[in-house]
């Protein structure tokens, strides 16, 4: 680790090496050892279920994955899912935060109810939504639309990616709410009152005072959620299994489907390497583009 005498540094020049070492070494092991193994496996013909498979195959596993007709579809689905859930959770999370920031009776309880979904395991929430709510025969939504004389929507067949998105968004809206609510409460009330005196009202007030104040928190929500959303798996596994067709197959699920199901370690590893590279690209741009926001 390089040291410098930047103004940020506090106190005598202590060596940061012993402080950083444990976490860096641990993360390196966690990152590098599987990565090295994965890189090595990704160039092998290696199937756990097929003893006859073996030997170095170079980039053949990568070629196999890159020629998969579903790869680009899976990438597109991943982007749609992540982007959709991000937008939904920020917008609805903001609405919840603003609503819960007002004074009204029972606000404390309402807040507890609003953040509850964040504590639910992904598998459980997928099971609840699939079986109790969205099921086209026994589900509550089907009953409601039948009662209203509307056609019954078969959610996971007609709107697979959207339905998965709804479940994932439901789990992450509370996180956005929590962060944005926290941020709202630290908004300078005097400033708001002053703006109100100047005749700023409702939406204008929100647009020019509240929203800029929230910019940093929104950035944080986007960053943290992206990290988690890129690896969404359980919700898809439990509900659509990537279907119908490949309508809700995302990149992690594609890797699972073409490689892990067969225990073809070569393909799974190649998929893993591709995903790691993509993740780093995303992380790089994400953090670069928003880092000025975090620096403030």
């Amino acid at each position: 680790m390089q040291r410098n005498a930047s103004t940020d540094s506090i106190g005598p020049m202590i060596s940061t090496r012993p402080l950083l070492a444990p976490s860096v070494i641990l993360l390196l092991i966690w990152m590098i050892v599987p990565l090295a193994l994965t890189l090595w496996f990704s160039m092998q013909r290696y199937s756990l279920l097929d003893a006859s498979a073996g030997g170095f195959v170079g980039f053949r596993n990568y070629v196999f994955l890159f020629t998969d007709p579903n790869l680009f579809n899976a990438l597109a689905n991943t982007i749609f899912l992540v982007a959709g859930v991000l937008v939904a959770s920020v917008v609805i999370g903001l609405a919840c935060a603003v609503a819960l920031d007002q004074q009204f009776p029972g606000r404390g309880i309402a807040r507890l109810l609003c953040i509850a979904p964040f504590f639910v395991m992904p598998t459980v929430s997928a099971l609840i939504w699939k079986n109790l709510l969205m099921h086209p025969v026994n589900g509550l939504f089907a009953y409601i639309s039948r009662t209203l004389g509307l056609p019954v929507v078969d959610w996971f067949a007609q709107w697979p990616l959207f339905s998965v998105g709804v479940i994932v968004a439901w789990q992450w809206i509370p996180f956005a709410t929590l962060i944005l609510l926290t941020s709202l409460q630290s908004l300078d009330r005097d400033q708001v009152e002053a703006a109100r005196m100047d005749g700023a009202k409702g939406l204008r007030l929100f647009r020019f005072i509240t929203l800029p104040h929230l910019a940093r928190s929104i950035t944080i929500v986007v960053m943290i959620e992206t990290i988690f959303l890129l690896s969404v798996f359980a919700e898809i596994f439990v509900t659509t299994a990537g279907g119908p067709g490949n309508a809700s197959t995302t990149l992690p699920f594609l890797i699972y489907k073409v490689a892990l199901l067969d225990y073809n370690v070569g393909w799974a590893s190649a998929g893993g390497v591709i995903a790691i590279i993509l993740a780093n690209i995303v992380a790089y741009f994400l953090v670069r583009t928003i880092s000025h926001n975090l620096d403030r």
Partner: protein
């Protein structure tokens, strides 16, 4: 300044409306847990029914709930404590003695979080096997610590950066050594932030399902594995599944509700302002 009545009514309706919509799936699940199986899929859905504990009896009869529960507690709390022990010094170094690469290092740490589990299951499984960590709580504690460490370090980093430099400077002039500074000044100053980091880490570890199911057999199985034994068995299963789900999320939900004030208080100190 008192707001007009209509506005206050609107605020109440909006707040409660959103809260009820968000909470409804959990409420519906909790209600289903107390229904009999045929009632669970009855049409029209039953809102009033005679509650039964039969589902809970059957679920508890089949699996030793407390065993799963304690594993979840041990693993999530253990991994969080370990994560703090490793993460605190790192965050301190990054916040107060940043090198040129500090930011790159943070980015890199966060990117390890995006490693897709399905792609590296086999290498990790083989590592765990050779280390004798399969089906051990220690193994899961270490794994979750690694999985959550980037988030822990990043959050702690944001809290540390908010500490006014003058305070630390004053302490230094008084002759406090870095370690003393750290323990007697920095930790108390950022305690709410550390608490909310710990809470988040506990919640994330509690809900992780992929590794916990694939790396455990019976000794170390947490509640996520408990759920895996109740999802989609044959026959009517909605009510039993709901009962099992309620048992699995109940503790963390209550824990989250009790501690949400600390969570929010901590967040206001650092990352969010």
């Amino acid at each position: 300044m008192e707001r007009p009545l209509t506005q206050r009514i609107f605020a109440a309706v909006a707040g409660w409306g959103l809260a009820i919509i968000m909470f409804f799936p959990i409420l519906w699940m909790a209600m289903t847990a107390f229904k009999r199986e045929p009632e669970a899929i009855a049409s029209p859905p039953l809102i009033f029914f005679e509650p039964t504990l039969r589902n809970f009896e059957q679920v508890l009869d089949r699996a030793d709930y407390l065993h799963f529960f304690f594993n979840s507690v041990i693993v999530s709390v253990g991994s969080t404590l370990l994560g703090l022990a490793v993460g605190l010094p790192a965050a301190y170094a990054l916040a107060f003695h940043p090198g040129k690469r500090a930011k790159d290092l943070l980015v890199w740490m966060l990117s390890t979080k995006m490693m897709p589990a399905v792609g590296v299951l086999v290498p990790i499984y083989l590592m765990f096997k050779s280390a004798g960590l399969l089906d051990s709580r220690i193994g899961l504690v270490v794994l979750y610590m690694l999985v959550n460490l980037p988030i822990i370090i990043w959050m702690l980093f944001t809290f540390f950066r908010e500490v006014p430099r003058e305070i630390l400077e004053a302490a230094r002039l008084d002759g406090a050594r870095p370690l003393r500074q750290f323990i007697h000044l920095l930790i108390p100053l950022t305690a709410p932030g550390i608490a909310s980091t710990a809470l988040l880490s506990i919640i994330l570890a509690w809900n992780e399902a992929f590794w916990s199911i694939n790396l455990t057999v019976s000794n170390a199985t947490p509640l996520t594995a408990f759920i895996a034994s109740f999802s989609s068995p044959q026959g009517l299963f909605w009510a039993k599944l709901s009962a099992a789900s309620l048992l699995a999320i109940g503790p963390i939900l209550v824990f989250g509700w009790i501690t949400q004030r600390q969570l929010v208080r901590g967040l206001t100190f650092g990352a969010v302002k």
